[in-house]
């Protein structure tokens, strides 16, 4: 890789071995400020592990992660805002959307939060940035999946990160919420120069907005401009077996030409990516 000074996040030859299993091998890519990158791949390809490596939750067995040119600090610092896929709470938990966003300011600190006007103002601004102000006072558990994602993005945003990491934020969302989330993220990348790295098993909802794609399959990754990567030769090399890329009405279909075909697309009716199980042998 040629060193580029403007890289916000750079992964160099990352390899991860967990419990005797090689999860990732030789993953290298970079993300520039304000860049909207899709981290695409079938379930089980290693996307979540890759996100955990970037977050510092899983130490890589090989290679290194650079943030702003230096090794990532142990605590993660405030450079990265993380949006988990799902909340682990019940409907009755007495946390309003606004409280969840407030935890983005100081949820990692000990002690009691002190209410203040400026704190309230920051929370409101973060909620407005993701279009969630109308349900600011609703309990988080009572919101829909898409609404919860927006609140979680506001939670990540309030720490003023330079990079937003999102783990499958579109999984289990209806089409309209999907588009809403993607356009909010695209606006943040454009207007606030926040780099966005979003993992998804279906690239189609992201197609219009992503500049670059990191395609993960069989523990390896190919990164580059979307039109450079989503091609039959590149993906075939990645999977280690014949893969076809079809463009149908502006949508992309990735089809494994191997013997057992197991569609993994989330919306079978409007099939995005269809891939066979990772048949690559490393």
């Amino acid at each position: 890789m040629t060193p580029q000074p403007e890289a916000l996040l750079r992964l160099e030859n990352i390899g991860v071995r967990l419990g005797g299993r090689q999860i990732l091998t030789g993953v290298s890519f970079m993300v520039a400020p304000g860049q909207f990158t899709g981290l695409i791949g079938p379930n089980g390809a290693g996307k979540t592990t890759l996100l955990r490596v970037i977050l510092g939750l899983t130490p890589p067995t090989e290679g290194r992660v650079l943030l702003n040119g230096s090794p990532r600090p142990r605590s993660g610092g405030r450079l990265i805002g993380y949006v988990p896929q799902k909340l682990a709470i019940d409907q009755d938990v007495p946390l309003r959307a606004r409280d969840v966003v407030g935890l983005g300011i100081d949820g990692h600190k000990f002690g009691f939060p002190l209410p203040s006007a400026s704190r309230r103002q920051r929370i409101t601004e973060a909620l407005q940035a993701v279009g969630a102000e109308s349900y600011a006072d609703a309990r988080i558990g009572e919101l829909s999946g898409g609404e919860q994602q927006r609140v979680l993005i506001a939670h990540a945003l309030i720490g003023q990160p330079k990079l937003l990491l999102l783990d499958e934020p579109l999984a289990n969302l209806d089409l309209k919420s999907e588009q809403g989330i993607v356009s909010v993220l695209a606006r943040l990348a454009r207007e606030q120069r926040i780099a966005v790295l979003i993992s998804a098993h279906d690239m189609n909802p992201l197609m219009r907005e992503t500049d670059t794609v990191v395609y993960v399959a069989a523990g390896r990754a190919a990164a580059g401009r979307t039109d450079e990567i989503i091609r039959s030769e590149v993906l075939s090399a990645l999977y280690g077996s014949q893969v076809d890329v079809l463009h149908v009405h502006g949508r992309v279909l990735v089809i494994a030409g191997d013997e057992q075909q197991e569609p993994q697309a989330h919306h079978p009716a409007e099939t995005g990516i269809v891939v066979g199980p990772g048949t690559g042998r490393g």
Partner: protein, 314 residues
Amino acid sequence: MGHFFSYIVEPGLLSSGPVLTALLVGTVVAVTSGVVGVLTVIRGQSFAGHSLADVATTGGAGAFLAGLNQFWGFLLAGVAGAAIMELIGVQRRRGRDVATGVVLGAALGAAALFLYLGTQTSSTTGASFTILFGSMFVISPDTVPALIASGVLALAVVAVLSRVLLLTSLSPELAAARGVPVRAVGIGYLVALAVSVSLSAVVIGAVLSTALLIGPAATALRIAKRPTRAMAAAALIGTAATWLGILLSYDSHYWPPSGHGWPVSFFVVALVVAGYLLSYAWRPGRRARRRRARAEAGAEAAAADREEPACSPA
């Protein structure tokens, strides 16, 4: 216990030493249980509370057999139980309920043995009842400072950890990504829970101790929209139930079978349950209104997607 029931006039209530002690300790315990209980319900760890209560029963019975103050037995066993739960990973992995259940059966069995042996040697049959179901009127005044100090300690731990605990219960992954030592925080919380359960065991007995922990908290969570308010509400509900329970127990001397008085624990637990049922009468209207509003906003599709299990790549 019957001696101060022997002449009862209402004004006598507040001039009775044991009653004053009961009111003081009851308040400390109710406040601690309410605050810790709210976090317990939010974290979905009611089962951990029950487990610690069972283990505390063994500790109390063991202390009785050894001739020690029961509170220290409750506390020691509770904290030890918390340590064991952490070791076998109750908090981290679901599906440890079976192992926990087996251990708890053994703990209660040991409690039965200790109580039997204890009553054989000391011939104080009331002790079993006190350990299992509590008796606020026989709290010895010299343990009061220790009880208050323990309550303050548990509250201090929770106050320091409250934000981190909320973030962790929202999403452990998110908390870890923010640099929160999730495991250490979980241990700190378990210790606060063990202390709270032990305190509650002194007041309403080891077996019933989680009633004061979970009941007021569950009620408060139905009413309050914010964690701090829920904690305050739970503390108030618990205190109200305890005070009223003491009052009713004091008055029940006149109730059949006359001359004995009913146990405080019964009244406290009954009042807690009554409060919880009342909260159901309170909330459904609000619920239905909100549901209607949400349905109009077209949230049905979203509700459906929430039921679908998440597909997270390994």
